[in-house]
Structure formats: C-alpha cells, structure tokens
Amino acid sequence: MFEPNPPVDLSSGKYLKLWQGPQHPGITGNMSLELTTCGDEVVDCKTHVGYLHRGFEKLMERRTFIQNFPIVCRIAVPEPTFNEYLYAAVVEELAGIQSPERAEWIRTLNLELMRLASYLMWLGGIGAAFGQSTVYQWTVTHRDYILDLFEEMTGARVYHMYIVPGGVRGRLPEGFEGRCHEVLNRVEKLLRDVEKVLFNNVVFKARTKGLGHIPREMVDPYGITGPNQRAAGFARDLRKDAPYLVYDQLEFDLITATESDTYARAWVRYQEMHQGIRMLRQCLDRMPKDGPFQARMPNVLHWQVPAGETYAKAECTRGEYGYYLVTDGSEYVRRVHVRGPSYTHAIALMEKLAVGTNIADIAGLMVSLHTYPPEIER
C-alpha cells in the first residue's frame, strides 16, 4: 500500500527545499513539514515531529495508576478530556470498576463540550488558514465561553483533570445547566453566522473545493478515521458502532459527505457541531441529578490493577482515539500505548496528500486534516 513519493533531484536547481515549521503560523502546533517544491507545486513532503515529545508512555510506566490521571490530559493539549476518559475507561475495565450512571452522563457531557470547543478552535483554524481570521476571532472567543463552563465544572480551563478512574471528581455546580444552555445558544447563533461567512463564501469555496481529495480506497490503508473518513463517504462512528458511556441513549445523526475534499471535511465537522449541541442539550435535560458519581475505590496510593490488557477507544474530534493498556498486577502500568488519530493523519496521509498541492494550500490542507502534534509524538 505504501507508495513512496517519486524521488527528486535536488541538485537540478528545479526544486526548492522549503521548511514549514516548527516556527510557522501555518502549522497546527509545533511540528514541521519539509517540502520540496517545484514552482508553486509541492513535489515531496516529509513530516517531522518530535518537537513536543515528552515520552508520556515512558513517564506513565513509572507513575502509579492515580498519578497517571493528571498527566494523560496533557497528551492532546486542545482536547484533554478524551485522554482522561479513555485512561479511566481502560483502568476501570482492567480493575473491574464500574463507574456510576451519573458519572457516565457527566463524562458524556464533558466529552461533548470538549468536542464542541475543539471543533470551534478548528473552525477558526480553517478560517485563518485560508485568510479569514475574523472567523478565527469569533470561534476562539466562543470556545472560551465553553472553557468558562469547564472552569466552573472542573476547576480548570485547559487541563480539566476531572474524569478520574472510578467516576468524576465532583458534582456539577449549582445552576450549571442553565448557564450551559445559554452558552450553547450563543454557539449555535455563531455557527449560523459562520455558515454565512465562511461556508457560503466564494473565495473559501474556490480555495477548498477539490483540495486534498482523499479517495475512498485510501481510507483503510492509511488508517484514516473520524470526520476525515466520514467526509469520504464512510458512515463509521464509534459513538454509533461501539457505543460507550451513554451514547446509545442519545439521539444524533451520523454526518457523512462524499466529496472528501477540504470543504467536505469542514462541512462534516460543521454539521457535527450542530449534532454535538443537540446531544449536549439532551445530556443536560436527561442526566440524573443525584446519586453517586464515583465508584468505590481502593486506596489509590497503592492501587494494584490485576494483570491483563485491553484497548478502549472513543470517537474524538479527529477520529479513533484509543488507549491500549497492559498491566502486570503491580502498582504501575506495564505498557500504555496511546493511539491518536493525528498520528496517521499528519504523517502518512499528509505526506501523500501534500504532493501536487500548491504550496499556499499546505497550511489549509494540514488544518483540514485536523491534527494535534502533541498527540502524535506524546
């Protein structure tokens, strides 16, 4: 399946070697693209990562199970909650703990709020990548309103550290539902504006339609998941296919598109934001208002999880996010592997799609795949 890009003779003088990043605003985070261009056309692309490598998987092997809980959220900076949930899920599964129903609802609320916030940031990113920074200003501001909700609920804006193995860390604050509804209404209004300004925009369409087309047959060999996959016409979503938390009790539509280009991917994500708001409203209205939110836990200071291995996955904004946990019965994890969708999207896929693209579109293409470098290198 792997087809290497055609070799280029750099000494011919026809080509220009160009580095985008790590210090480059057109790059989604701290990574870099080594581009070889011929005129305005990119003929080769190599992704370089590792600028944010902290060795999480190694660090987690020398922390106890509870000590890992604050660190996992740092793996994907703009979207920490999925890490928290998945880490909790794998540990609970191997430890034989069932988190209470109320916690499951709160977790779902958390994940969907996070998804909305992350998509808002992405929406601004795709606007900014193509020169519409007004949308970026608007959406990042609205993301901030969601961060306010997180701050109120969890005690922190960015790294919430709220979903803890066994449940969640606290009940929802007084009056949270009302404020959450209010923010959702604001975001919904903003989304309508964004549709007018960005999606019904002749220049945006001119730039994005046909850009970075992913053929259907490329999807599986390249491990493409999430909205990128759905934009290529696959109706696959872990929330529907393997419902976790309370997704089987929520009503939402699976969004797909067929064009599989940057515009389609943006449109799928845009539509999913509406579905997210719909789910959030259901969560707020239907979640249990009392009851326990934490399962009975052992003393976490020397918590030993029985030996075993498992893989838990969730549908994050970018696709299949998974935690693979191997334990050996000690107080430490034997091995944890974090499967982030950015890993395949930003390296194998990006290197493939970049070839033949205009150099000015590289940033937009990169954003349209929605990748987070810290999650690639961990």
Binding site: I66, G170, P173, H302
Partner: protein, 594 residues
C-alpha cells in the same frame, strides 16, 4: 460561483455594529471560578503526614520543618512546601489530604523574574491568597482513600460471656489485606508507639502477604507480637491519620494478622536461632513483657540471660492480669516460647530478696535489668474495707488465670475504670455474675481501652459513672456486702488536667452485693533492694526515675516496665526492655558511661 456566495460573506460587517466580545478589564474582573484550582492553602489542621507528598507525581511537595510550630502528639512538625516549578494543579494532594486541611484558592497569578522564587510553605508563609474563601475543595462524596475500617469477626455478646473463648476472631487474609490497603504509610504512628515499631512497614508486608518479612519487622522492636496484636493499648491508632475522616487503621489487628499466619514452629526458621555467645551474662528480674523483651534482645546479642520470676509461669501481668478471652494462653506462650528457645533461662518461683538476695545478683551479673511491675493493689482505704467479700481485682484475675475459682458470687460490684476493672467485670460476667461497675469519673475518662469498655457493656456489665464509694457496711455477713457510694460532680481542674470528681454528700446510694471487687490501681513493691543501693537510685513517688537507656544511679542496674514509666502498659514495658537491652549493650561495650 453564485451571487449568494459573493454577497453572504459581507455578513461579517454586522458584527461591527454589535458590542465587542472583549472583556474590558480581564485581570481585575475575572477571578477564578469558585471551584478553581489555584494556589494551595493549608489550615492549622495539618499534621504533616506527608500523604500529599507521596501522591504528588511531580515531586512538587517537600515536607519541611516549620519554625514555631507547637510540638504535639500525632503531628510531625513538618508542613508541605510547594514548588510551583513542578506543581501541575491536579489537586490530587487536596483530594488525598487526610485531615482535609489542604485546599486550593482560586488565586492564579504569580509572576516574577526569579525562577528560584516559586516556593512556599502553605499555611505558614504569608501569601496573598491565604484569605481566599473560594477555590477547590474535595467533594464530600469523592474519595481516594477508604475511610471505613474492615470489621473483624467476633463472638457475639452472648457467646462470649458463655466462656473464656477468645472474643476477637482475627482477620481473614482477605480482610487483613483490605485493611492494610487503607494505610497511607505516613509513619506518624511510629513516634506515638512506645516501642516505635515499624508500623507502616509491617502493614505493607500484610498488604503484600509477605508474613515472613512482616514477622521480622515486628521482632525488630517487639518480641511480643502475638500478645500485642491482641491486647496492645494501640496508642498508634489514636494518632492514625485515617482517623481524621473515618476509622483509624486497625494497626493492632494487622499485627495480629501477621503472627496468626506464622505458626510458632516456623519462628526459628524465619527469625533465625543462632546466637553468637559473647561470654557475658545479664540477669533479669521479672518475666513479664519488659523483662522478657530485654532478655530477648540481649540474648540476640549474645548475652547469657537468666530471668528470675516469682510466679510459676512467665508472662507477668500478661498472664495473670489479662484474661484468656482477650489473650489466650497459647498465644502468650507462642511469644514466650520463642524467646526461651533462644536459650534464655527462666528461674520460676524465685523471689528476689527471699530466695536470692539482690546483692548476689548485682555482684554475679555483668548487668541487671529489673522489671518487676506493679503488683500491689491499692487499697480502697474506706470504712469497712476489711470485709471478707471485698476482693482485689488483680486477685480475681490471678485466680481465674491460675484456674482457681475466685468465688465472686452472682451479684458483683467492680470499683474502678481501668483495664483491670474491666477485665474483672468481664471475668465476673463469664463466671455468671450480674456486674455493676462503679467509676468515679465519666465513661469517657476511663483509662481502660475503649474497646474493652464497649465490649463489657455489650456483654451486659452495667457501668455507673461518677460514683464514689464511701463506706462498706454489712460487716456481719460473710456472704454479702453493702456499699455506700455517693454521686460525684465533675469539676474542672484549674491547672488544666482532666476534670476531677467531687463527692456530693447529699446524693448517697446504698446497694448490697455478693462481693465487691476493688480495682482502683496498683503500686509496686521494692523492699528487696537493700538500703545501701536504694540511696543511689532516684525515685519519684513510688517509681524509678531511670536515666538514659533506662540506667539507674547504680550503673549495673537498668530498670523498666510499669515500675519505671507512667504509661504502665505492655508495649511501654516492651520498649523499656528493648531500650535497656540497648543500654546494657552499650554499657558493657563501653559506649555508655555509668
């Protein structure tokens, strides 16, 4: 290209006529949310257990001594110091805080140019956020620790009064592991334990089901593990950090959990039995916990140890003062037999001063350890005390332990509130009597173990508090005795001691019993020490005042046990013995001057 796509983007300009999103004064107007995890705060409830340090995955917390902190039991005198070059505001330290003293403020701004400045000791250093009322607190329904003690299986009250079977059945392995799992291993208890046992370590051994290691740990400081695992006064549990929000760890029972799982036959294999004789000999007076403990540690270091005991069996107060439903004989023997198996010689039925002169001992041995205990019951010294139906608590217990019938009758009054009184009461219950305990103070003032008080009540002993016996009547009868007691009022002590009872003469009661068991206290008997030695020894009231390493003014003489300390419990006696053994070893190897 549709016209709509050309026109629609101009919609952005609508925003220009609306209010900006911008926060006018973000620095002033946006405090952290009520639950915000900002900088740490610590209240004076902190005891410096260091659990926050243990859980911190970033090693952001140092436990540092704090100047001017009042030294109190159960407080390490350390306080957490936070390094904001490390802290990630996960608040696990707040969640785990055993006393709930650690909290977070909603303050979040700290900007300096000095990277070395980001340290502070929460609660003691003056920081701008110390008075913040908002910030992260642990939710009441959210726990990272287990606060409920694992119950131990016990005989029901009816079963237990029916005989002298051991009441507490001991933990099963699973229960012990679960209970041991609750421990946070802070080590605060070690200082409070008179013997300074390696409590967190042996609890960890229980958790890891490594009983051999556990036993070795126990014997490092206490050769009466089987005994202490049952009847220790467990001062450690009173300071256990888990007690602040729930039940303290059942430290005593976990100790028992180790010894229960190691059969006596394996002791020598696990703990070793080889002794390298060093050619010196040490005498020990009294085969109680203090004496035998000293004998054990001295023997381990190669001394030839001879123990003199006035009774027929070893164990002292443990055997004659503690009934077998609390401490079965075989368990005491398990401890004692191992000590004797190392080559400790015990001479029974030997009274010092009567059978062997003290002078001879002090001349024959290189050093002498004396732990004769308190075996003289204090008299009531009230009118009519010489009535034949007035018995001493110690005597009753001794009788029962020796298999004699103390003849308490069917209606008994016990005077006193200590363990001896409780034991006497519960023994009487087992002998079929109806028991009333008269105590001068309130139940909460009783020196007896709370468990014993609770169990004796469960077994049907009536506890009458604030009752001062005044007179004993009915001298004519030989089978019945009448006691007159007056109600007491508790009066606060000016000097800050515990409240003292004062007799109210107008509220007197009179009641007739088959016997009255007096158990108000014991004193010691030291007449066997010749006067020329006595003068060189320091006393206070009726007790020795030992110096460093339990040494007395008579350099060869080391003392310990109830006769030399104010706590008068087994574990203190054991530590005295152990400490004296250290002292004797130092004395005989020349590192302790006489």
């Amino acid at each position: 290209m549709s016209l709509k796509d050309l026109i629609s983007p101009f919609y952005v300009w609508q925003r220009a006529f609306e209010k900006p999103y911008t926060q006018k004064r973000p620095i002033e107007d946006r405090p952290g949310a009520p639950r915000y995890r900002g900088f740490h705060m610590n209240s004076e409830d902190c005891i410096g257990c260091g659990t926050c340090e243990t859980i911190c995955q970033n090693h952001a917390i140092d436990m540092v001594p704090v100047e001017g902190l009042e030294q109190r039991s159960g407080d390490s005198g350390l306080r957490p110091r936070f390094d904001y070059g490390r802290c990630c505001w996960c608040a696990l330290c707040v969640d785990i805080c055993t006393t709930r003293s650690l909290r977070m403020s909603n303050h979040y701004a700290w900007i300096t140019e000095d990277p070395d400045a980001f340290h502070f000791t929460a609660g003691t250093d003056a920081m701008p956020w110390n008075q913040n009322s908002l910030g992260y607190r642990r939710d009441d329904d959210y726990h990272l620790l287990v606060h409920e003690r694992i119950d131990m299986q016990a005989l029901g009250a009816e079963e237990s009064v029916a005989g002298f079977d051991e009441v507490m059945k001991g933990y099963t392995e699973e229960q012990a592991v679960l209970e041991a799992d609750r421990c946070v291993e802070c080590g605060i208890c070690v200082a409070t334990c008179p013997a300074h046992m390696a409590i967190p370590d042996y609890i960890r051994a229980v958790r890891q089901r490594d009983y051999e290691a556990g036993l070795r740990l126990l014997y490092e400081t206490n050769p009466f593990s089987s005994t202490c695992g049952r009847i220790c006064t467990h001062r450690c549990e009173t300071v256990c950090v888990m007690g602040y929000q729930g039940d303290p760890i059942a430290i005593r029972w976990l100790k028992r959990a180790i010894v229960d799982r190691v059969p006596a036959e394996r002791y020598r294999e696990i703990l070793g039995d080889e002794v390298v004789e060093n050619g010196r000999k040490v005498g020990v007076i009294g085969a109680g916990p203090g004496g035998m403990s000293a004998a054990y540690y001295l023997r381990r270091q190669g001394y030839a140890v001879t123990v003199y005991e006035s009774q027929a069996r070893a164990g002292g107060m443990l055997r004659y003062g503690v009934p077998s439903y609390r401490l079965p004989d075989d368990q005491l023997d398990k401890d004692l037999e191992y000590i004797r198996s190392l080559g400790v010689e015990v001479k029974f039925n030997t009274h010092i001063g009567r059978d062997v002169p003290f002078r001879q001992l002090i001349e024959d041995y290189d050093a002498l350890f004396l732990a004769v205990g308190l075996n003289q019951p204090s008299a009531l010294r009230i009118q009519g005390e010489e009535h034949p139906r007035v018995l001493s608590g110690l005597q009753v217990l001794d009788d029962v332990a020796s298999g004699r019938d103390p003849g308490v009758g069917s209606k008994v009054a016990v005077i006193g509130g200590g363990n001896v009184a409780m034991d006497a009461a519960r023994v009487s219950r087992r002998l079929g009597a109806d028991v009333t305990v008269l105590y001068r103070r309130r139940i909460e003032d009783m020196p007896a173990d709370p468990e014993e008080i609770h169990e004796s009540q469960a077994e049907g002993c009536k506890l009458v508090q604030q009752a001062i016996p005044v007179e004993i009547k009915n001298a004519a009868s030989t089978s019945q005795v009448t006691i007159v007691w007056g109600e007491a009022e508790m009066i606060a002590d000016d000097k800050g001691g515990r409240p003292r009872p004062v007799l109210q003469e107008d509220r007197m009661h009179e009641e007739t019993y088959d016997c009255i068991i007096a158990a108000i206290g014991q004193g010691g008997q030291l007449d066997f020490i010749p006067a020329e030695y006595r003068d060189r020894i320091e006393f206070k009231w009726n007790k020795f005042v030992p110096g460093e390493y339990q040494q007395t003014g008579l350099p060869k003489l080391f003392v310990g046990g109830d006769i030399a300390n104010s706590r008068a419990d087994a574990i203190s006696a054991i530590e005295d013995g152990h400490h004296a053994a250290r002292g004797i070893h130092r004395f005989l190897t020349g590192t302790l001057d006489g």
